[in-house]
């Protein structure tokens, strides 16, 4: 019997994807391979247009790869997935209050599930500073509040794996910093496995156990940078400089 921890949570092998272009197809991902172990927090860094969002779509099972395969906990992603996916847009439903938005995941399973999750929902609202806005419509919230609500909705899906596509993209530095710490704590507490797409090197260093550098287009894994748990300032700066140097080299001129 294989020890459960040695089974990768997400395993991607030989992944290729291209989209039809004007003349011929445009490759977005080419021969992408990596694995994420249970409980890891992996950040995906790379220049724009490197196919990071496409990669998340493939892992979520929303699109099918041209070549290669995706395995989530040893199976192909599909119906009844193990993944909660937070896309770049907050995608809150305007006709539901914040409360009804964050409980969407449990509600789609059953009314009983929804009832079961209300305590957790209340706790997360308080933790992310939204308890006063439970009854508000999404249109009444600021961009940062909307993203927080979307993040809570993602967490309340109760899936072991989180795919987060720039969840803090539209936030000011202060809010961003607070939310990053919240997210780190919540993910640790709930033992989530996370794949985070970000443009922010500091965010990646703060949150992740490993950074995957994606070059391109077409996207491919250029380097995997492990981030030691208790990073002292000198080490952090050294790693930061290294990652920034690599990113600079990977970003094409004029991008």
């Amino acid at each position: 019997m294989v020890h459960p921890l040695s089974v990768p949570c997400i395993e991607v092998t030989g992944l290729a994807k291209s989209y039809p272009g004007a003349a011929d197809s445009i490759p977005v991902l080419k021969d992408v391979a990596f694995r994420i172990l249970p409980g890891e927090f992996v950040s995906l860094l790379g220049p724009s247009g490197g196919g990071k969002s496409t990669l998340l779509n493939l892992i979520a099972g929303l699109e099918l790869p041209d070549e290669g395969k995706v395995q989530v906990e040893g199976e192909r992603p599909g119906r009844d997935p193990r993944i909660a996916y937070m896309q770049q847009k907050d995608l809150l439903l305007p006709w539901r209050t914040v409360w009804d938005n964050i409980l969407l995941g449990p509600e789609l399973r059953s009314a009983a599930e929804r009832d079961r999750m209300t305590a957790a929902a209340r706790r997360l609202l308080a933790e992310f500073g939204l308890e006063a806005f439970a009854r508000a419509w999404p249109a009444e919230l600021s961009g940062g509040m909307r993203q927080r609500a979307a993040l809570i909705r993602t967490l309340l899906c109760e899936r072991p794996v989180l795919l987060l596509d720039e969840p803090f993209g539209a936030l000011d530095a202060i809010t961003r910093g607070r939310l990053q710490l919240h997210l780190a704590k919540v993910c640790r507490d709930l033992k989530k496995t996370v794949l985070l797409v970000t443009h922010d090197v500091d965010e990646a260093l703060l949150l992740s156990t490993r950074i995957v550098l994606l070059g391109g287009p077409p996207g491919r894994v250029e380097e995997e940078v492990p981030v030691p748990p208790a990073l002292d300032e000198a080490e952090r700066l050294r790693l930061r400089a290294h990652v920034l140097r690599r990113l600079d080299a990977l970003t094409p001129e004029g991008a």
Binding site: I83, Y85, P94, W95, G105, L108
Partner: protein
């Protein structure tokens, strides 16, 4: 908004006209398959009295000129009666007008309900079964090249001289804009929302009832507003084609006897029908889609 930091937006918001405030959009836009502006149908603030001041002054001026002109040039009442004459006729024969108005209202409401029901049902059927849409949508568009009033005499033959043919006429008038608006609303669900529901493991049924249908509501209400306004037009067209009662009948018989003041009085009775029905739809919209009224001023 008061800080003047958003001059463009502020000016734009002030310049919203009455039609935009109730979210009424022309049938031309619908027929061309143009998106129904959901953002415009945000009947949030109550109309300030100032919005009514200028139009009211224009109406008063026209009525004064009309009254003065008729008296000054001695225009005979069978060509153009003075506004005061119209009011007198309306007051003297109010029972007759009330009875015929009641009949036209009943025809309009029944016809609107029928047309709305059939339109929404067909839109849902076409949305759920794409072969149905492929088969029927071109015919639906093509059928709009037949003027509605051209089939009114046929409807009288098929549904009789009384209530039925008028209801059918109102329903036919309302059916097309309603179908197109509802179908358009169902089809314009943001695909990213569908993806979100899919990653959450939603069934097709859940995607329809909890996502597509509520997302279509603003568009459905645009269709309902057009239905409210045009139902009475359809009913009167039906009455013109052959009837023994209703405001359309009253108009034709009064016109034939050169009692022009009565024709005007009938028009005066007809106009509020569409407006009241429109008001009911707007109130309903505020109840059913309360989220459409909220906006955040500060970013």
């Amino acid at each position: 908004m008061s800080s003047g930091m958003l001059p463009e937006g502020a000016a734009g918001a002030e310049r919203v006209g009455l039609a935009e405030r109730v979210g009424l959009t022309g049938p031309a836009g619908l027929a061309a398959g143009l998106p129904v502006p959901a953002a415009a149908s945000r009947p949030g603030r109550t109309l300030p009295w100032r919005a009514w001041l200028l139009p009211g002054l224009v109406v008063a001026a026209i009525l004064a000129l009309w009254e003065a002109g008729v008296r000054l040039f001695g225009i005979p009442h069978y060509i153009l009666p003075a506004p005061s004459e119209i009011v007198v006729v309306l007051v003297q024969r109010w029972d007759v007008f009330a009875r015929h108005t009641g009949i036209t209202v009943a025809e309009s409401v029944a016809g609107a309900a029928l047309g709305i029901g059939l339109g929404v049902a067909l839109a849902m059927a076409m949305f759920l079964r794409s072969w149905l849409e492929q088969a029927l949508y071109p015919l639906l568009i093509a059928s709009q090249n037949v003027p509605v009033f051209a089939i009114a005499p046929l409807l009288v033959v098929w549904f009789g001289y009384g209530f039925g043919s008028k209801v059918a006429m109102a329903a036919v008038t309302v059916f097309f804009p309603m179908t197109v608006a509802a179908l358009d609303g169902l089809k314009r669900t943001d695909p990213d929302w569908v993806r979100l529901f899919r990653t959450m493991g939603a069934t097709r049924r859940q995607v329809f009832w909890r996502l597509r249908l509520p997302a279509a509501l603003p568009s459905v209400f645009s269709g309902l507003k057009l239905a409210a306004v045009y139902a009475s037009v359809g009913a009167v067209l039906g009455e013109w084609a052959g009837a023994g009662a209703g405001l359309g009948y009253l108009m034709l018989s009064a016109n034939a006897q050169l009692r022009v003041a009565e024709v005007f009085a009938a028009i005066l009775c007809l106009t509020p029908i569409g407006l009241v029905l429109l008001g009911i739809v707007v109130l309903l919209e505020r109840r059913v889609t309360p989220w459409q009224r909220v906006t955040r001023d500060a970013p």
